[in-house]
Amino acid sequence: MSGGSILIFILKIFAAVTIAILGIMAGLIYKGIDRKLAARLQSRVGPPVRQPFLDFFKLMIKENIVPENAIPWIFNGAPVLALVSTITILFYIPYGSIPALFENSGDLILIAYLLTIPAVALVTGGFSSGSTYASIGAQREMVLMISYELPLVTTIIVLGWRLNLAFPGLKVFSLAALSANPIWGIVGPLGFLGALLLLLTLAIVTPAELSIVPFDLPEAETELAGGILVEYSGRNLALFELSNAVKMIVMGSLTIILFFPYNLAPLLHLTGFLAYIVDILFFFFKLFIVIFFEATLIRVALARLKIDQASIAYLIILSTVGLSGLLLIAIDYII
C-alpha cells in the first residue's frame, strides 16, 4: 500500500467516527424535537429538547439485567448489531452537497438490506429474552417487517428503474446519481402523480421502521408493556434507543435523497466552504420537515392498529398505492 492510500484510509476512518458521533447526536436532538413538537400538538408542555440525552446517560448508569432464561450472547449481541447496522447506513448518505463516505453502484440496494438488520436484531433479541411478552412482540415485528418490505422495495426499485430508462449507463442505484437527477424532473404529469404516490408509500413505511404509533405494535406499551424490549434494561436498552434515533435520521435522509435532493447553494451562487455549510444546514432543515410529517404528525393523529389491520394496511393497501405509482410512471414513459 502506498503512503497516499494509507493516508486516505486513516482519513476515512476518522470521517467514519465523526459521522457516527454526529449522526447519533443529530438523532437524539431530532428525537427531542419530535417529542417537544408532539407535546405541543397535544397541548402539553413536553420534556426539554435535551431529554433523549438525559435518558441515554441515565440508562448507561443503570444495571444491565440479563434474564435467567435468556440466551446471553444473543441477548447482549442484538442491540450492538442493531446500532452498528444503522450507523453503517449513515456512511452511504450524501449530506447536502457533501458526498457520501462510501459510494458504489448498488448503495440503495445495500441500504434496503441494512435497514432490515435492526429489525432482525430486535426479533432475535426479543425471542432470546425468554419472556412471553417479548415473544409476542417479536412475532408482531416479524409480521410487520414482512408486510412493509414490499412497498418499501417497490419505491426504491421504481425510482432506479425510471432513472435507468432516462439515463442508460448511469449507476442508477447509487445515491449520488439519484440525488443528482430528482425524479420530478424526468417524468411527465402522469409520472409526477405516480412519484407522489411513491412518496406517500415511503412516508407511511417510515412509522413502522421507527416503530411509532400507529405501527408500534411490537412494543405496544399498554398491551405488551414494552413487548419486544420488555426484558431490556440499562446499557442494552440505551443502545436500542440510540439505534432507533439514528434510524430516524436514516429514514428522513432517504426520503430527502430520493425525493427532495435539491440544494440551496447553487441557487444563491455560493461556492467553496460556504456552500457546504449552507447546504448541510438546508439538509437538516429538510430533515426536520420530513420527520415532522413522517413521524410526529402521524403518531399524534392516529390510534395504534392491530397486527392484522397493520398487515393489511401494508401488504394490500399500501402495496396497491406503490404499484399504481409504478403503473403511472410506466404509462407516462410509454406515452
Binding site: 397541548s43 404509533v213 408493556a225 390510534a303
Partner: protein, 407 residues
C-alpha cells in the same frame, strides 16, 4: 390436530391496568382461547374499619371507597342510613345532591374516555379529553371545595349550599359541555381509527348482559334498558323523566361492542348536562340539612333501629349500600356493593376469541374499579398460602353463619 396454546398473565401490575388485578390468558397465536380472573390483591377492609366508627365518620370512609365515585358511595350510604332511621331530606338538599352526582358523572365518563383512548395508543385524545374534563373539576372545586372527595353528603342533606353566585358559573360550565359534546362526538364517534379498533370488539350480547347481571353503561350498551334513575326514581330524579340511554339512540342498532359503550357514555355526558340544567332551573328554597347539629343527629342515629338500603346509579352502574342500625354508636352491618362487582363477569364473554391487542380496551371498556370491587383473599398466616373458596364452600359457610345468627 390440537391447537397448541400458551399462557400469558396480565397483571397484577401492568401498564394498562391502573389497579392490581390478574388475568390468566390461554392464547393461541394472537387469539384468546380462555381467560381466568384472579382478583384479591387490593382489598382494603373498609367495611371492617367502619365497625368502630359512628355513622358520620363512615361517610368519610364511604367517600374513599373510590376516587372517581366519591359522590356516589356517600350518596348511596346516606340514603341507606336515612332509610334505616327514617330521616326526611329537605327538597333543596335532594336537588343539590343530584347536581353533584351528575357533575361527577360528567367527569367520570370523560376521564374514562381518555383512558380508553390511551389503551388504544391514541395519546392525543387522552390529553384532549382530560383537558375537557378540567372544567367540571374546577366547577366541583368551586361548589364543594374539592376536586375529588367532595365532602358534600351528610345524613339528612348536604353540607354546603349552592348560592346565587354559583349559578352563573354552573351555567357557563354547562354551556361549555354542550359545545364540547361536538368535539367529543367528532373525536370518538366519527374518527375512523377509533372505529377500527372498537367496532365488533369485546361483544356482549343482550342475553349475556341479563344473565351476568351487568349494570350501568356496560349493560345499557348491550341494549338492556336498565338505570336506577329510570326504574326506581329517587331523590330529585323522581321529578324528572329520565330514560336509560342505549346505543340505538345514536346509531340505530345495538351491537354490544366497545364502540357502543363509548356511545352510551358520550351521550350520558350530555344527559347529565340536561339533568343539571333542570335542577338549577327548579332549585327549591329551604333548608339543606334536616338536622344541622351533628351531635343531635348522632343522638338520633344512636337510638335508631332498623335496616336500610340505599341505591344510586353511579357513573359505572348501580351502587348499593346496606346498613343495619341496632341502637348503638356504630352501625351493626355496613355492606357496600360497587358496580364493578357485577360487571366483573362480563369480561368473560367479552374477551372470548378476541386478540391480544384487544385486551386493554376490552378490560377498560367496563370502566373497572378494582379497589371498589375487591372483596377478600383468604391467607393462612402460618403458611402464608392463599386460598380460593369454591361456591359450595361459600354456601356452607353462609348457612353456618345464618344458623349462628338465628340462635
Amino acid at each position: 390436530m390440537s391447537i397448541s396454546t400458551y399462557k400469558i398473565p396480565i397483571g397484577p401490575i401492568h401498564p394498562s391496568l391502573a389497579e392490581p388485578m390478574t388475568f390468566n390468558f390461554e392464547i393461541s397465536g394472537e387469539r384468546i382461547q380462555s381467560v381466568d380472573l384472579a382478583p384479591g390483591d387490593n382489598h382494603r377492609g373498609i367495611e371492617f374499619m367502619a365497625r368502630n366508627r359512628n355513622v358520620v365518620q363512615i361517610i368519610y370512609l364511604a367517600e374513599r371507597i373510590c376516587g372517581i365515585c366519591s359522590a356516589s358511595h356517600p350518596f348511596a350510604f346516606c340514603r341507606a342510613v336515612e332509610n334505616a332511621a327514617g330521616i326526611e331530606v329537605p327538597p333543596r338538599a335532594e336537588y343539590i345532591r343530584v347536581i353533584i352526582a351528575e357533575l361527577e358523572r360528567i367527569h367520570s365518563h370523560i376521564l374514562w374516555a381518555g383512558i380508553a383512548a390511551e389503551e388504544l395508543g391514541f395519546n392525543s385524545v387522552l390529553y384532549l379529553s382530560w383537558k375537557v374534563r378540567e372544567e367540571v373539576l374546577d366547577l366541583l372545586e368551586m361548589l364543594t371545595g374539592n376536586r375529588i372527595n367532595y365532602g358534600m353528603y351528610m345524613v339528612g342533606g348536604v353540607r354546603r349550599d349552592i348560592t346565587e353566585e354559583h349559578i352563573p358559573q354552573i351555567r357557563k360550565t354547562l354551556e361549555y359541555y354542550k359545545d364540547a359534546y361536538q368535539t367529543l362526538e367528532d373525536v370518538f364517534l366519527k374518527d375512523p381509527s377509533i372505529a377500527l379498533r372498537t367496532k365488533n370488539v369485546g361483544i356482549m350480547t343482550y342475553e349475556d348482559a341479563l344473565h351476568l347481571a351487568s349494570v350501568g353503561p356496560t349493560a345499557r350498551a348491550s341494549g338492556v334498558k336498565k338505570d336506577v334513575r329510570q326504574d326506581q326514581p329517587y331523590s330529585a330524579y323522581a321529578d324528572m323523566d329520565i330514560k336509560a340511554i342505549t346505543p340505538d339512540i345514536y346509531s340505530g342498532e345495538v351491537n354490544g361492542d366497545v364502540f357502543d359503550r363509548i356511545i352510551v357514555r358520550i351521550l350520558e355526558v350530555f344527559q347529565s348536562v340536561q339533568i343539571i340544567e333542570h335542577c338549577i332551573d327548579n332549585l327549591p328554597d329551604g333548608e339543606i340539612l334536616s338536622e344541622p347539629k351533628i351531635i343531635k343527629l348522632l343522638g338520633v342515629l344512636k337510638k335508631a333501629k332498623g335496616e336500610g338500603v340505599g341505591r344510586h346509579e353511579a357513573p359505572r352502574g348501580e351502587v348499593i349500600h346496606y346498613v343495619k342500625l341496632n341502637e348503638s354508636e356504630n352501625p351493626e352491618v355496613w355492606k357496600a356493593r360497587a358496580p364493578t362487582y357485577n360487571n366483573l363477569m362480563s369480561w368473560l364473554p367479552m374477551l372470548q376469541r378476541q386478540e391480544v391487542a384487544d385486551i386493554p380496551i376490552v378490560v377498560a371498556s367496563i370502566d373497572p374499579c378494582i379497589g371498589c370491587m375487591d372483596r377478600v383473599t383468604l391467607v393462612d398466616s402460618n403458611t402464608s398460602k392463599e386460598q380460593v373458596l369454591t361456591r359450595e364452600e361459600l354456601i356452607k359457610l353462609s348457612i353456618e353463619k345464618t344458623r349462628r345468627i338465628l340462635r
